[in-house]
């Protein structure tokens, strides 16, 4: 067994494989399939200050090598989280990270303050890139000044590891990454979904109730990989890479491009055991290539 331990600021991950928010529920939905504790960390589903019903059905469309979703941050709010979900997830022996969402900076702050009180939540992922909500969401992640401002304000009220999740729907993602770094982000994670659309040619109606939705899955991998590479060159803080990772090889590519850790999203739906397979695959790769530590892999792209 190679040493797969990586660090994301204060977080120590037993291996670089995490799960992407919104694709892994609260973790325990996977207990039947895998040992969740064998992962480096899990990102819980997007949480907001108040209960949200999310968008109307239909929320999903299959696309070539991917899918569109328009869930719209359905969740029961932070009170419910603290009372019903936190007591369960805190029993896991891995890093539990809350994905924090708001429509306004005040909401982001208020929610972060609540999460800050939770002893066993090691970090938050500030989601400024959700394409499926009318207010806030991606608006924060596609404007550099707004991304900086929300990071700055949240930083003031949060002591632990602050990860900012970036939107790929921008001209220059490295600029935004540098912006949030300058305001105290301890890491960036990318990418969130790409804004896409599906039309039913027979009915001439949009497939999704919200017309547009977020594209994820292997289809986006080449673009996500490029963005991770660009961002890793631009910032000093660790980069967490995601977007279409479906195999250990994919995960390794992201790490070679500069990611210190990866998140697996949509592929969890297709193969609920993919995360542990990727941990094994990364280990095999390290052994095969005689890497003592996975850290040798990070940013090892040879130009």
């Amino acid at each position: 067994m190679a040493n797969l331990e990586v660090k994301i600021h204060d977080l120590v991950l037993k291996n670089p494989v995490m799960t992407a928010s919104g694709t892994f529920g609260n973790g325990y939905e996977f207990d039947d399939f895998i040992d969740v504790n064998s992962l480096g960390g899990i990102l819980l589903k997007g949480t907001t200050l108040y209960h949200r019903e999310g968008n109307d059905y239909p929320r999903m469309a299959e696309t070539p090598s991917g899918m569109l979703n328009a869930v719209g941050l359905q969740n029961k709010g932070i009170d419910y989280f603290c009372e019903h979900i936190y007591p369960k997830v805190k029993e896991y022996n891995t890093n539990i990270i809350v994905n924090v969402n708001g429509s306004t900076i005040e909401e982001y702050i208020a929610l972060t303050e609540r999460v800050n009180e939770l002893e066993y939540i090691a970090a938050i992922e500030l989601n400024i890139s959700c394409p499926n909500v009318k207010q806030g969401g991606m608006a924060f992640g596609t404007s550099c000044p707004m991304a900086e401002q929300v990071t700055k304000e949240v930083r003031k009220v949060y002591d632990k590891t602050l990860i900012v999740k970036l939107s790929p729907n921008v001209t220059n993602i490295a600029e935004i990454a540098k912006g949030v770094e300058s305001q105290g982000a301890n890491a960036v994670s990318l990418v969130n979904t790409f804004l896409g659309m599906a039309v039913n040619a027979e009915t001439r109606k949009p497939v999704l109730s919200t017309i547009t939705g977020g594209l994820s899955g292997p289809a986006i991998k080449p673009i996500a990989l490029r963005m991770v590479w660009q961002v890793a060159q631009a910032v000093q803080i660790p980069v967490i890479g995601m977007g279409g990772i479906a195999s250990a090889t994919d995960a390794i590519e992201f790490m070679i491009a500069g990611a210190s850790a990866v998140q697996i999203g949509t592929t969890n739906f297709v193969d609920p055991q993919v995360t542990t397979k990727i941990v094994d695959g990364i280990n095999n790769y390290c052994e095969r290539h005689n890497f003592k530590s996975i850290n040798q892999l990070i940013g090892s792209l040879q130009l």
Binding site: G22, A61, N69
Partner: protein, 258 residues
């Protein structure tokens, strides 16, 4: 029953008519633990156009061979590829998923209504209900005579009633036009699966007859086990996942305009 993801051996694939196939799979776990109305989520190999899994109801179980079957109607690329699978090959399946129907008590009288491929979960349901000592009526609706399948098999479990849109078999019309809804017969419960307009029509009848009614929804799914939140339906308690809190719902819990 614990959920699992497994490569299951295909022990049979029988073509029932022009577009329906019955695929039989060997389970490693006890099929007796499967609950009628539950479903599985199947990975379709060999299909470049099929990225996500395809949800399919558990059609029936066979305890002695520890196999269960899927009734597949070919509607697109995924189901087409599935229909081509051969005995001896394997299918990667996540199962069992969802809640399932309420099983009747001894001596209860129930009506199972299946429209189109919505008849799929009804064989398993009929089997378990009969096993429990209930009286089972099965109403099957289809477009035309050639679309009716598995009638003999259903007859093993109760009274089979038939409708066709074009009148080529049984009562002409939709399922709700059948005499079982005339009011002469009363049921403890109606269980229904089929196209949404049909289920709504049946739900309307059930309300009128003051009979408890369960419907099995077929919302589009990405994961099938409650993590993507794509498959929701509106209920009196807000959005619920069809894959975990359904697919079977009591119509009183749904926000249906009926």
């Amino acid at each position: 029953m614990k959920k699992e993801v497994s490569d299951l051996l295909v022990t049979g694939n029988r073509k029932l008519n022009h577009d329906n196939f019955l695929i039989e799979l060997k389970a490693a776990t006890q099929v007796a633990e499967m609950h009628p109305g539950q479903f599985v989520n199947v990975k379709v190999d060999n299909s470049p156009d099929t990225y996500l899994r395809r949800p399919l109801s558990i059609h029936d179980i066979n305890e002695s061979s520890n196999t269960f079957s899927l009734l597949v109607k070919v509607v697109g690329e995924g189901t087409k590829q599935l229909s081509l699978i051969k005995e001896g090959e394997t299918l990667n399946v996540v199962f069992p998923l969802g809640n399932g129907f309420k099983i009747p008590a001894k001596d209860e009288k129930i009506l199972l209504v299946g429209g189109g491929v919505g008849i799929a979960p009804m064989m398993h349901m009929a089997r378990e209900s009969v096993k429990n000592g209930a009286e089972v009526h099965i109403l099957l609706g289809a477009r035309s005579k050639i679309d009716h399948i598995l009638l003999d098999e259903f007859k093993d479990f109760g009274y089979v009633h038939i409708t066709t849109d074009d009148g080529t078999l049984g009562t002409k019309g939709f399922v709700v036009d059948h005499a079982v809804f005339s009011g002469k017969e009363t049921f403890n419960r109606i269980h229904c699966c089929g196209p949404e307009p049909m289920m709504k029509a049946v739900a309307r009848m059930a309300k009128r007859m003051n009979t408890e009614c369960e419907v099995s929804l077929e919302n589009m799914m990405a994961c099938g086990f409650g993590v993507c939140l794509c498959c929701v339906t509106k209920t009196t308690e807000g959005n619920k996942c069809v894959c975990t809190e359904g697919p079977v719902f009591n119509i009183n819990d749904l926000e249906w305009q009926i």
